[in-house]
């Protein structure tokens, strides 16, 4: 018995020693091993890279959605652990930089700048000389509507927000059981995008001081507009991404959705019976004739501090640049992960084929490229998660009680500012 225990102890010690080797610096020979965490399915694209690059081997580990991934990667980084590359939504990049998760790879990847539009590139540099990530996809907002039901109810596609409100009222009059759309409080990203369209920049820096503009005039205008529609009962007030919402989209109880270019993917699973019945149109405008839009999501490939520590930053930056600028890689990204690429050349290339769910709109991506041209710049801060979560609770309450949306926006603003002050950020106003 005793002998067996002794053997077990030796075996255990042996395995510990082995794992000790695994965790150490990369061996001098053999390829550089990189791991990447992402929620998009990039496995096949990474395999393409691995086949062509025997010196750098990338393993993709698919993770849950955006917020969870951010939490996970920050926790891992605190423990000196985690991946070499991470997919991050643009609004989370300052948070990741502030938590020392991402590293500056300007010396390896600065050349990628020319492949992207200025407003996109600014989101991965945070307006500094550093480069923290390589943009992967963008998500300009557009209006998605049920063409068949718009025709049936004699509705015109709204070009301005005034017309949008008018359309919502007309539909309510013609069929009280339907609603044009819903105001959902469970993803602040949409509201942030709508505010960008109206001209808001929620976070800005000047020198070493932050300026928070969550409650600026443009965002208040947006809040007031949607609050009015909810209060008058002309649109629904229940959250998105619930079984009830799926049903409403599928059976035509809701006939439009303000969303981003990735909407076809969501509609495919949420409203499977409506294939070929939806159409995309430019987002309604605040000034007639304008062509502005905001963004809801979009992500970049970040290179982590761990990669830098292990001497793998250059290899990681090389892969991230290839993944997001090489035409072959982008074509695979579009096919496998269904993203709308950030690289400007790819937006008008043949890589984009009409979404399967929108066979009735063969010029889908031509229109998307047109819409994307008017994308307003976004500015993000180091505590977007605090703002977004406060948004959910404050606007959830306002939407249910049909109370003041601008007051809810004020709560979001004040909580965000208080949180930054508490953490020691220098902040103006």
């Amino acid at each position: 018995m005793q002998r067996r225990t002794a053997l077990a102890v030796i075996a255990l010690a042996g395995s510990l020693a082995l794992t000790g080797c695994d965790g150490g610096a990369p061996a001098a020979t053999g390829p550089v091993e990189l791991t990447m965490w992402s929620w998009a399915s990039l496995q096949k694209v990474a395999e393409m890279w691995n086949a062509d690059h025997p010196d750098i081997k990338v393993t993709v580990q698919e993770q849950g959605g955006g917020d969870e991934l951010v939490t996970k990667v920050i926790t891992a980084a605190k423990a000196g652990d985690g991946p070499d590359l991470v997919q991050a939504e643009y609004q989370m990049i300052p948070t990741l930089v502030s938590n020392d998760v991402l590293t500056d790879v300007a010396e390896f990847a600065g050349g990628a700048e020319d492949s992207f539009s200025e407003s996109v590139w600014k989101q991965v540099t945070l307006g500094s000389p550093a480069v923290y990530a390589i943009p992967q996809d963008t998500a300009p907002l557009a209006l998605f509507y049920r063409e068949d039901l718009f025709t049936q109810f004699g509705l015109a596609v709204p070009k301005t927000w005034t017309e949008f409100a008018e359309t919502a009222r007309q539909l309510k009059q013609k069929d009280p059981n339907r609603a044009l759309t819903t105001f959902s409080s469970n993803d602040a990203g949409l509201f942030a995008g709508l505010s960008q369209q109206a001209g808001a920049t929620w976070w800005q820096t000047s020198g070493d001081t932050w300026k928070v503009g969550v409650d600026d005039e443009s965002s208040r205008k947006v809040a007031d507009f949607w609050g009015g529609l909810v209060k008058d009962g002309v649109i629904d007030n229940q959250p998105m991404y619930t079984p009830a919402w799926n049903k409403a989209l599928n059976d035509g109880t809701q006939i439009a959705w303000v969303s981003a270019v990735w909407a076809p993917g969501t509609l495919t699973t949420s409203a499977p019976d409506t294939k070929g019945k939806w159409k995309m149109a430019p987002l309604p405008q605040w000034t007639a004739g304008a062509a502005k839009t905001g963004s809801w999501g979009g992500s970049a490939t970040g290179i982590t501090g761990k990669a830098a520590k292990d001497g793998k930053a250059q290899a990681a930056a090389k892969f991230a640049t290839w993944l997001n600028t090489d035409p072959k890689a982008i074509a695979a990204l579009v096919k496998e992960a269904g993203v709308y690429p950030a690289a400007t050349a790819a937006q008008s290339s043949g890589a984009l084929t009409t979404p399967e769910f929108f066979p009735n709109q063969p010029d889908f991506y031509a229109l998307a490229a047109d819409i994307a041209k008017g994308t307003a710049a976004a500015g993000w801060g180091p505590n977007v998660n605090v703002a977004y979560n406060t948004f959910k609770d404050a606007f959830g309450k306002a939407a249910t009680e049909k109370s003041s949306f601008p007051a809810a926006l004020r709560t979001v603003h004040e909580t965000t500012v208080a949180d930054m002050k508490k953490n020691g950020f220098k902040i103006e106003g």
Binding site: D67, T71, I74, T75, P94, T95, V97, S98, N99, D100, D104, L126, S128, A130, S185, N186, T205, D208, T209, W210, N237, Q238, P239, Y241, T242, P243, A244, K247, A248, T253, G305, P382, N383, N385, V386, N389, K392, D393, F395, G396, K397, A399, T400, D419, N423, G424, F425, K426
Partner: protein
């Protein structure tokens, strides 16, 4: 030799002490350490080493206690507990007593059927019930509407408490019933016989003999249910995406989770967690003391 003998008990205790230290005392100590510190940034807070852990004393505690949402959350949990514990234990006791009746049929099947929901993980149960609570997809509402009634709004306001209580009653009754039923089976049957000879009805037997005799297990189930109530987390977290009315601070545990893992405030979350742990401990000990004193007298 005597020396070695004195060491033997320590040897037996060692694994327990080591495990207790590693997985209980150490994390608690670390939480206490975190709760007394805070992360401070310099300037923009971007770039390398922009954050620094500093000693803040009891600041985090002051903030935690001053946050009205913590107290409000505690109030909501108490209200939920006041609905849940009596309902769940009342049903568990009733089912156990019914199963214990001499003439009960299908005993094994009924016991299993009542116990089965306990085997369903809380998150799955909440998802399941969540679907049933959404009027536009729920078969229950469909039937109610067909009969000309409109169902209750279970995802807002007072209905929400009912919705959450229902999930927990559904999931927890079976387990408590088994505990109580096991205690009932341990009561010597001679007692019932003599009671019947004295002319007791089954109801009187239950009320005057069974319930007083199984009081220890009733106390135990009450104690565990109360602690479980204070820790309610999975059910409201799972229902949250379905409704605007469940905030991320609905229960104190949810607030700790949000602060720590969603908003990156590990230090303030640690302080709140320590406060909750202290209150829970205090409540548990005073309850046990009360019960012991009553048992002694």
């Amino acid at each position: 030799m005597a020396h070695t003998r004195r060491l033997v008990p320590h040897g037996f205790l060692a694994p327990a002490i080591v495990l207790f230290g590693l997985f209980f005392a150490l994390p608690i100590g670390y939480a206490a350490h975190l709760s007394l510190h805070s992360m401070q940034v310099k300037g923009l807070g971007l770039g390398r080493n922009a954050r620094e852990e500093v000693w803040v004393g009891l600041d985090n505690y002051a903030t935690a206690l001053a946050d009205p949402e913590l107290l409000a959350g505690a109030g909501r949990v108490l209200r939920y507990g006041a609905m849940l514990v009596p309902t769940m234990l009342g049903l568990a006791l009733l089912f156990a007593l019914l199963l214990d009746l001499p003439r009960t049929r299908f005993r094994a099947f009924s016991r299993l059927a009542i116990f089965l929901p306990y085997a369903v993980p809380g998150i799955i149960a909440s998802l399941l019930w969540g679907f049933l609570y959404l009027p536009s997809v729920s078969p229950g509402y469909f039937l109610l509407n067909a009969a000309g009634w409109s169902g209750p709004d279970l995802l807002h306001g007072d209905g929400l408490f009912l919705a959450l209580t229902n999930i927990s009653v559904w999931g927890g009754t079976g387990f408590n019933m088994i505990v109580i039923y096991t205690a009932l089976r341990a009561v010597p049957p001679e007692l019932y016989e003599s009671a019947r000879l004295d002319g007791c009805s089954e109801a009187q037997i239950a009320w005057r003999i069974k319930i007083p005799l199984i009081r220890p297990s009733l106390v135990l189930t009450f104690f565990f249910s109360t602690i479980a109530t204070l820790q309610v987390f999975a059910e409201p977290m799972t229902l949250r995406p379905l409704t605007n009315s469940l905030t991320f601070t609905w229960s104190p545990y949810m607030k700790v989770y949000r602060d720590a893992f969603v908003q990156g405030g590990l230090h303030s979350a640690a302080a709140t967690a320590v406060v909750i742990a202290a209150v829970t401990l205090l409540l548990s000990f005073s309850f046990l003391k009360l019960v012991n004193r009553r048992a002694a007298s």
